[in-house]
């Protein structure tokens, strides 16, 4: 059983390949080459969905991507369920399962259809006007209800199991659309040797030629010409052909986004293939050959299943071998209706009448129709239709001097309509090209270009097959020439094809009925009628942008492909002004809805972002370290032993460092090698500190400001020789600091002989901290004397450790004696393990970033980005000592000279001790002077500052905190308060150094 509406022969379906599929639970059969829509039509099924607002029964209107009605949900499994697919674009495959949307409980009986009965009370702007009261009801009641009733399909909740790929591609000429104009353009461009890419959204190239049965080109049937042309293109070697590929976005400088559906049409896709590809094509020249879309006529009850565009009806018959009905009424304002009527009549569909809006018909179309025995009625309108789930008749009435005469009912199960053709200017408009209204054609056409593109064929108002092909060829040739290629040999095309003329109609067709009970749809997908648009104009909306938002016309997923021009026509008529004066809404990407998957591409899971790990990472992972993300790095956060939580692990790690030794992976610290005769001068200008007198072999803590005077970064800097510095930066600040330095060096001081090289990843950095660190490390050093005398605190020595080249820093961020051992990255783990082994007798303990944070907070060392927030000057965080007062200039110096930068009420770094030592304050908590403030407070309370760091200190056996407080240094010794939801917490302001404030342990 393949459907009683299937023709005996013809069309591009493969009748040797029958396919079974299910729609709303019923099994049907179609053929390879069918779309879901054509297969349903071949089975006599026109009811494919319910409308969005009124839940009216709806059938398929078009045969392409402009379809507003037949939105379906296609399901492969729980995760692979795609809503809102246009049945006209869903290719049939064996076992396809589709369901209709917007219906409950079933498509045939829908409870929401009562909206339709109440529709006189659901005018334009209804939602805006009605659901605003009482306050709060919108969120609780109206919105959930409306969403449940009005949803457009349901997205699956499982992770998307398919792969999506993204590709960059380049070509000389990109041709968008492979109808006659696009094929001709591609032939012309490829003949010049240009790299050509030809894409089309359909499963097959050919566009309108695929439905062409009568025309001949160069003496060949149109479809043979098409096949030959495609063969030429495929054989040329410089043409990329992509079907099922929608050009959905036109971005600046000729970057075109394409969505290619790779496996959607396959019954059992190869899982290694992407479901879809995103192509980002950079084209030197673009030829837009997007064709034209047939325009519906706006007449009452034009939305019943069985009412469709004339050319769609013809396409179903000739391209898919599916008869769209048995008895048709044609309502037309142009020649397309005649062509459809004649081809349907020849294909076995009875044509009851042609109602022609025009008083007279040019050419021989009427004569041909009369010859075929069709009742042709000029100056006639359709004033309404009959039927419920399928159209059963149409009311035809004569137009006399603008008045509508009495209606006569014609029985039919198909109404074909044609209001002429609207050029598909979406991509041109997206390219920011200026559209120009053509009053004769009553359409907008491409005007001035902004990008290097040109339109060809019907999308620029060129009609007639011969004209379209010749235009396509000329435009393809011109594009290749402008891309720097020669001209192809001139081509003349011998074309015999029906001429359709350029007539058309925009706006609402007169019907003479009581407007309250006549629904003439303009926008099917958003259920907008001509009456809604008229109401909007009566309520004072003048611009189409406002009418659009008020009525929602053109705002559905089809972006008004079929409705925009008619909406403009209605507003124009209502206001009595020309169409161009109303404006035109903006066409935006995507041309048709696009999956989220292609925008994600490979960026998911482990490939979402680079996961940067250090050479010592695996050692830590093997020991069960917990990790934290610091910029793109994974850093060991703490090393829990069995049964330990973070608090216990950190307490143990801290004690180990303070009492014996800890080992810490500091490899992520940014490192920059600054080399050249002017290295010290450059350092002087970039850092607040003075560097000239720093001797080779010594270290200095450096502070870097932005030009606005605020602390940007800090780090320890080693001078290796008179012209070589080893600079360290914060982990997250590394790229920013290097870019900041390069900026000044390249653009302000290009005369300096100094160069910057990132060495962050050259070195693995192993920090060994604690009173036993020297004893542990010394035996491993081949040629470096770590003794106090030979290697004082804040020094750097180059040599070898375990036979590996090293730079050792005597530096401490913990307050204990400590060293940082830099070794080439590939040796990092081996040296780490050697140190760990050597430290075992001393109980050397690996520690993570949390312990590092606690230890430095005990010492009152700041972390840039934790204590500072981009508004702190050095003095605010007690780093005034690092500012070289005698220096004439450095980046940020002039800003520090502003009076406000040294005002006494600036926020300053202080320590806080809670009166109850067990309470650990929350970082970010606000600090006030008033005791006992409740949260929320009934009266305004001045905020003095906030907690920046807060920890339980195992060493001090109590909590400690750092804070930035207004005039904080003057408040040392006073009590302040931290209001929290559980009660206000009393704190004492103290010096921000809780442990060994004199620094006697560095040289222990």
């Amino acid at each position: 059983m393949t459907g009683s509406f299937r023709t005996a022969s013809g069309g591009r379906i493969d009748r040797a390949k029958p396919l079974a599929f299910r729609f709303d639970g019923t099994t049907y059969y179609g053929f390879q080459g069918d779309t879901l829509a054509s297969a349903l039509i071949a089975n006599g099924v026109h009811l494919m969905g319910r409308s969005f607002k009124y839940h009216r029964p709806r059938g398929v209107v078009s045969a392409g991507s402009d379809e507003p009605n037949a939105l379906v949900d296609v399901r492969r499994d729980d995760a692979r369920t795609t809503p809102n697919l246009r049945a006209t674009q869903v290719e049939l495959y064996e076992g396809l399962v589709a369901t209709s949307q917007n219906r409950w409980p079933s498509l045939a009986f829908d409870a929401g259809a009562m909206n339709d009965l109440f529709s006189p009370f659901l005018p334009a702007g209804f939602y805006y006007k009605t659901f605003m009261w009482p306050a709060g009801a919108w969120k609780r009641f109206y919105e959930p209800k409306i969403r449940a009733m009005a949803g457009l399909g349901v997205a699956p909740t499982l992770p998307d199991p398919d792969r999506y790929t993204q590709h960059y591609a380049h070509c000389d000429v990109l041709v968008i659309g492979a109808g006659p104009a696009g094929i001709a353009a591609a032939l012309a461009a490829s003949a010049t040797g240009a790299r050509v890419m030809l894409v089309d959204e359909q499963a097959e190239f050919g566009g309108s030629l695929l439905a062409e049965t009568a025309a001949t080109l160069d003496g060949k049937p149109a479809q043979q010409w098409l096949a030959d042309g495609l063969e030429t293109l495929a054989a040329s070697g410089n043409v990329t052909l992509r079907t099922r590929t929608t050009a959905f976005g036109y971005f600046p400088h000729n970057m075109i986004a394409l969505a290619e559906r790779v496996t959607e049409h396959l019954a059992s896709p190869n899982p290694n293939l992407p479901r879809e590809r995103l192509w980002q094509v950079r084209a030197t020249e673009v030829v837009i050959a997007a064709g034209a879309l047939e325009r519906p006529l706006v007449f009452p009850e034009n939305d019943r299943p069985g009412v469709m565009l004339a050319d769609a009806g013809r396409t179903y018959l000739t391209r898919y071998g599916a008869k769209p009905g048995t008895r048709a009424t044609v309502f037309t304002a142009c020649d397309s209706g005649y062509r459809a009527a004649l081809e349907l009549a020849a294909g076995g569909v009875e044509v009851a009448a042609i109602a022609d809006l025009r008083p007279q018909v040019h050419g021989d179309w009427a004569a041909k129709a009369l010859d075929a025995g069709i009742d042709v009625r000029p100056s006639t309108v359709v004033t309404g239709t009959l039927g419920r789930r399928r159209v059963s008749g149409a009311h035809l009435a004569k137009l006399k001097a603008g008045a509508v005469g009495p209606a006569e009912t014609v029985a039919c199960d198909l109404v074909l309509m044609s209001g002429g053709f609207t050029p598909s200017v979406h991509m041109f408009s997206q390219s920011r090209g200026k559209l120009v209204y053509d009053p004769a054609l009553q359409v907008y056409l491409p005007g001035t270009s902004v990008e290097r593109e040109r339109s060809a064929g019907a999308c620029r108002g060129v009609y007639g097959l011969k004209a379209v092909i010749e235009d396509g060829y000329a435009r393809g040739e011109g594009a290749a020439k402008d891309a720097g290629f020669g001209t192809s040999s001139p081509r003349a095309f011998a074309v015999e094809a029906a001429e359709l003329g350029t007539d058309g109609f925009i706006g609402a067709v007169p019907h003479g009925r009581n407007p309250a009970f006549a629904k003439a749809f303009v926008d099917w997908q958003n259920d907008v009628t001509s009456k809604d648009i008229a109401l909007a104009t009566r309520e004072g909306f003048r611009s189409i942008e406002h009418v659009k938002r008020y009525t929602t016309t053109g705002m559905a997923t089809d972006q008004g492909k079929s409705s925009n021009m008619n909406a403009l026509g209605i507003v124009s008529e209502q206001l009595g002004v020309g169409v161009p004066q109303i404006g035109l809404t903006t066409f935006r990407p995507p041309f048709t809805p696009t999956t989220f998957g292609i925008f994600a591409g490979a960026a998911r899971g482990d490939l979402f972002d680079p996961i940067r790990t250090t050479p010592i990472h695996d050692w830590a992972a093997e020991r069960g370290a917990a990790f934290e993300d610091v910029s793109l790095w994974k850093r060991a956060h703490y090393f829990p032993k069995t049964g330990e939580d973070m608090h216990a692990a950190v307490a143990r790690e801290c004690k180990a460092v303070r009492s014996s030794a800890g080992i810490f992976d500091a490899s992520t610290l940014g490192k920059i090698e600054i080399v050249g005769p002017d290295a010290a001068e450059f350092m002087n200008r970039m850092y607040t500190n003075a560097w000239t007198k720093l001797e080779p072999g010594r270290l200095r803590y450096g502070v870097m400001l932005r030009e606005d005077g605020f602390v940007m970064d800090d780090g320890v800097v080693g001078r290796l020789s008179h012209d070589r510095f080893h600079v360290t930066t914060t982990t997250g600040g590394a790229p920013r600091v290097l870019a900041h330095m390069e900026d000044y060096l390249q653009t302000e001081w290009p005369d300096l002989d100094v160069w910057l090289t990132s060495t962050t990843e050259q070195w693995a950095v192993i920090a060994v901290q604690g009173p036993k660190s020297r004893e542990i490390l010394q035996p491993l050093m081949d040629d470096i004397d770590l003794s106090r005398a030979a290697f004082p605190h804040m020094s750097v020595r180059e040599g070898h450790v375990c036979g590996v080249p090293t730079r050792v820093f005597s530096v401490s961020f913990t307050g204990e004696l400590g060293f940082e051992v830099n070794v080439p990255a590939e040796h990092g783990r081996a040296i780490w393990e050697a140190i760990f082994k050597a430290g075992a007798p001393y109980g050397i303990t690996p520690y993570g970033t949390e312990t590092m944070h606690v230890l430095r907070a005990e010492k009152g060392y700041i972390i840039v980005g934790q204590e500072t927030d981009g508004t702190a000057v050095p003095d605010d965080v007690n780093l005034g000592w690092a500012v070289g007062k005698a220096k004439r200039d450095f980046v940020g110096k002039r800003s520090l000279e502003r009076a406000a930068m040294s005002a006494p009420d600036r926020k300053q770094l202080v320590g806080l001790l809670t009166t109850d030592p067990k309470i650990v304050l929350e970082e970010g908590a606000q600090i006030v002077a008033e005791p006992g403030v409740k949260v929320p407070s009934p009266h305004p309370v001045p905020m003095l500052g906030f907690v920046t760091s807060s920890y339980a200190s195992a060493t001090l056996e109590r909590s400690i905190a750092l804070a930035m407080i207004k005039g904080g240094r003057a408040r040392i010794g006073t009590k302040l308060h931290v209001p929290m939801p559980g009660g206000s917490i009393e704190v004492t302001v103290v010096e921000p150094s809780f442990y060994d404030p004199k620094g006697e342990r560095f040289d222990a």
């Binding site: 590709h167 490939l607 680079p610 250090t614 050479p615 990472h617 005769p677 002989d753 990843e761």
Partner: protein
């Protein structure tokens, strides 16, 4: 071989895919050389490969390469060699001429990608036109692959080398392996 076990595991687990072959390159001496005009000639002579003046081109002599990365920046690559003697020779040749020479041998790892679909795989993350006309043999440049910066080098119509900072290498290998999956 790299110490980075994650990368090691990843590279050992790579499937043999003929259309896009992916492999890790061995250790190499890498030197970042920066200089004004005066240092370019002597440095190239000492290294044994003239430093190219043309943007985004590399010079080669035997197994040594000199990659132009910027108007005053070259990456000198000597697979399998020790950086220290090379650096010493260049320092000696450029004595007194303002320049910067930094050993970055351990900073990055080399990746080879080869096969008829190598450019197709690279173009899933690299935004450059990789046709032979636009990116000929002999070209090298810093660019991007997905969210990682790479140095991309074309050695043959279907043969590319990448130099990638070591912590980004697992990402780059994973990205390219995912990109070539459709040819498995």
């Amino acid at each position: 071989m790299p110490d980075n076990a994650a990368l090691q595991r990843l590279s050992e687990g790579l499937r043999p895919i003929e259309a896009v072959r992916l492999s890790l390159l061995g250790p190499a001496a890498r030197l970042a050389f920066r200089s004004r005009e005066a240092g370019i000639g002597p440095a190239g002579e000492a290294f044994g490969v003239a430093l190219p003046r043309e943007a985004n081109r590399f010079g080669q002599s035997g197994s040594r390469f000199a990659f132009w990365l910027g108007p005053d920046e070259w990456l000198l690559l000597a697979p399998g060699e020790d950086a220290a003697p090379l650096a010493a020779a260049i320092e000696a040749a450029t004595l007194g001429v303002p320049h910067a020479l930094v050993d970055v041998s351990s900073r990055s790892v080399g990746i080879e990608i080869a096969g008829r679909e190598a450019a197709f795989a690279l173009n899933q993350g690299c935004p450059l036109d990789l046709s032979l006309a636009a990116f000929p043999i002999g070209m090298c440049t810093r660019t991007l692959l997905g969210k990682a910066e790479i140095v991309l080098v074309r050695l043959g119509p279907e043969l590319f080398h990448l130099d990638v900072w070591r912590s980004f290498a697992p990402y780059v290998i994973g990205y390219l392996d995912e990109a070539r999956r459709e040819f498995a």
